[in-house]
Subunit: 451 residues, 2 copies
């Protein structure tokens, strides 16, 4: 037997914490530092090949925050580390988050320096949430921000997630699919995630089935009988001869219904063109051509701009691991404590102090014109993006919409992005303006910490 | 309430399957194709900046395989997809893996085309394991293969995992730490994973604690009192003035014990040199200097070769997300069915058919000289790497060593790697030889499938 389960148990999430958070919590506790802290979650910068982050997870993480509690077993395990005082462990045993959370909508495109989440509460309580909140939001935001690029590249042709084998672990395989919904993917091969996150589940055959059968045609006939309208994988031995044989068969047996063929290797553009020509000449114009095998947004964009007759794309590695940018510079920083603004002055890492709001302004055509990052109590034109999600430790009734409705909102927010941000090329443009108040607050706070 | 748990439940792992596996299983079942299939797990190729894969997970996954079973609830959910026949769902309800597994030791360096795992059993049973096995082994192998490069770069100075906030989800944050043990990391910041995988847990303070205190020195004094021998984070406002103040304080209060300081930003080499000089001049030669902040193997190698006086490294993004190569070309392929060799002929994806063994030969100095990938029944000099792990669906008693003992074995296997494979530069060398038998088998099988 394994001494631990193969996946993290929900009940063990409180221990999924970086040790320094517990060390700091004990220090706050021992010093009687129990005033409110405000922590802000934001992306510091973006890599050149991301024009925005599609932020996901920042509302859902409230469910974890709300239920986080240490069990006696957890306390015993922490005791074994020999660093915690019995009375602090008692405090930990009683811990329930008692503060408030503001967050932007799931699936909102955000830019550097814009808070996606602000947590306020007794500083030790909020400190304990740091790594869990970051890990939770980072995963989905990274995967959604990659996946949406494939959607842009595909220009309306459906993109389906085949990435489970390449995602980093099972939590990522599962929750990634929720991220892909915000990005606009059409479906997933992943059964559990499709069922849990209400996304169509797709999948027909791998090469192994073709190989195990006595011949390729036997495999195809079996599938056509079991799954009318199925998609046949045609590249196991030789794509064009497979398609030629399928055509002969369908002409001999016109009652057989095949929905499509899938190309998974080789020169997709020329194979697709040739297969399309063969199928069309045989009067099989309704048999679709799907493509997969090492696709990313650039390859899809080329296929689309070359008018390759491909009706849909299956993508694995690129979206499963966000292979070009698997990590983004997400930060969770103390911006206020005991009603005073706080910031650090580390080179390249200065942030803006104080609790904040983001106002998103649209132009008359409904396109994003400017975001203003302001102090929480400032008022600007535009829609305030940060909305209350938790109060006194509890999720506010009705504050978190259903997933389907969140996905609809995300689509609208994506549609409002001007074309330069929807391009695969760097936008070299930043729609974010920092308010004068925040700039002055940063200047004053900096002067104080330097003094 | 969330309709699903925030992390995948162990009991839901059977549904973490790609739909095509279930579709194929039903097809095998419906066609009475219940002969044994052999599936082989291997890396197709390696990116230029990986000289080998440190394979992890291929033995541990047997625990998942052994206990995999569909519940009535799972069957009901599958039924809702409308693609499965009631009698196939009955078969699925009775499913327990009944086959055998061969695997190489956890933490073995492997090269392209070397099987890490071979699963044999009724073909439908093995097919159902595909994505789960791949996901499980891919995660740890990707993270360990990156982490070991940092160990090579650090040349004996300890490297500690700070990556939880950047790993893709919680399963990766947790199981990644087991991978880091095989790679040789000295510790982790992650409490749950450290406790579960018996790795020292490290962590003292973040900038937030310094910011929340009235002044930096208040933060330092609190920590020195609560945690004698602690490491102080000195870059919140200005590294060198912080160190100057620490020196004044320690000279005034010589009874205070500080173990080290940590630099987390700025020019680590010059700050470390200057801090070391200041500390040494003050007679504080035993105060160590730790560095963190955007480190990867190349930065560490430069710091080490420049003799930067840094005693240990904390690494986040690089190892948490394996940021340069977050995905590797892992494949799980049918190589035999009904005692006949099987292979596909897709461009660039031809594999070797048949069940296999890998013989690792060492030179007289105990260094890896050559690996022979051979048929399972061939005999060559060297150590056979694939060993039986499961038989008739059950883990063989004693076949999977304890984690600590596996880690010791992994260290020996890494130590046996010649220097070109331990370099950060591409080795441009492949120690793998394919046996004549396998080459002939490939040729014959290819002729058959083409014919």
């Amino acid at each position: 037997m394994l001494k631990h389960p193969p996946v993290v148990k929900e009940t063990d999430l409180p221990l999924l914490v970086d040790l320094y958070e517990l060390a700091m919590a004990q220090a706050y506790w021992s010093e009687g530092m129990n005033e409110n802290g405000v922590f802000s979650l934001f992306f510091r910068t973006l890599p050149e090949n991301r024009n925005f982050v599609l932020a996901c997870g920042q509302q859902h993480v409230a469910h974890i925050i709300e239920s986080l509690a240490f069990t006696d077993e957890h306390i015993k395990r922490l005791e074994s580390l020999g660093r915690f005082q019995p009375r602090f462990l008692d405090w930990l045993r009683e811990f329930r988050f008692s503060g408030s959370v503001h967050a932007i909508a799931e699936g909102t495109p955000v830019f550097p320096q814009e808070p996606l989440l602000e947590v306020e509460g007794p500083v030790a309580e909020v400190q304990l949430l740091e790594s869990l909140v970051m890990n939770y939001v980072h995963l989905e935001s990274v995967l959604a921000s990659k996946a949406v690029r494939l959607i842009f590249a595909a220009q309306g042709r459906p993109v389906v997630d085949f990435g489970m084998r390449r995602t980093h672990g099972m939590d990522a395989a599962h929750r990634g699919v929720r991220a892909y919904r915000f990005a606009g993917l059409a479906g997933t091969s992943n059964v559990l995630a499709g069922l849990d996150f209400n996304m169509p589940v797709y999948g027909t055959m791998a090469h192994s089935f073709v190989q195990a059968c006595t011949g390729e045609m036997e495999a195809f006939r079996t599938y056509a009988r079991l799954y009318p309208g199925t998609t046949l994988l045609v590249d196991t031995y030789d794509t064009r001869s497979a398609v030629a044989r399928i055509i002969d068969w369908l002409q001999e047996e016109p009652e057989v219904r095949i929905g499509g063929i899938r190309l998974d290797s080789g020169d997709l553009a020329s194979d697709a063109a040739e297969c399309r020509r063969m199928l069309d000449e045989a009067g099989l114009g309704d048999v679709k051509i799907m493509a997969s095998g090492g696709l990313d947004e650039y390859k899809i964009a080329t296929l689309v701009s070359d008018n390759a007759p491909i009706d849909g794309f299956g993508v694995g590695t690129a979206i499963g691991a966000s292979n070009d940018e698997p990590a983004l510079e997400l930060a969770f920083k103390l911006t206020e404590y005991a009603d005073l603004p706080r910031m650090k002055n580390s080179p390249g890492k200065q942030s803006f102090p104080g609790r904040k709001q983001v106002y998103r302004r649209l132009d008359p055509n409904g396109r994003l014109a400017q975001d203003v990052v302001a102090g929480r109590d400032e008022v600007f034109d535009g829609e305030p993006l940060l909305k209350p999600v938790m109060k006194r430790g509890l999720i506010i009734e009705g504050a978190i919409p259903t997933l389907d409705s969140q996905v609809d909102d995300a689509k609208r927010a994506l549609d409002a992005l001007p074309s330069q941000f929807r391009s695969l090329e760097p936008a070299y443009e930043n729609p974010v303006v920092i308010s004068d108040f925040l700039r002055a607050l940063q200047r004053d706070t900096l002067a104080k910490v330097r003094g």
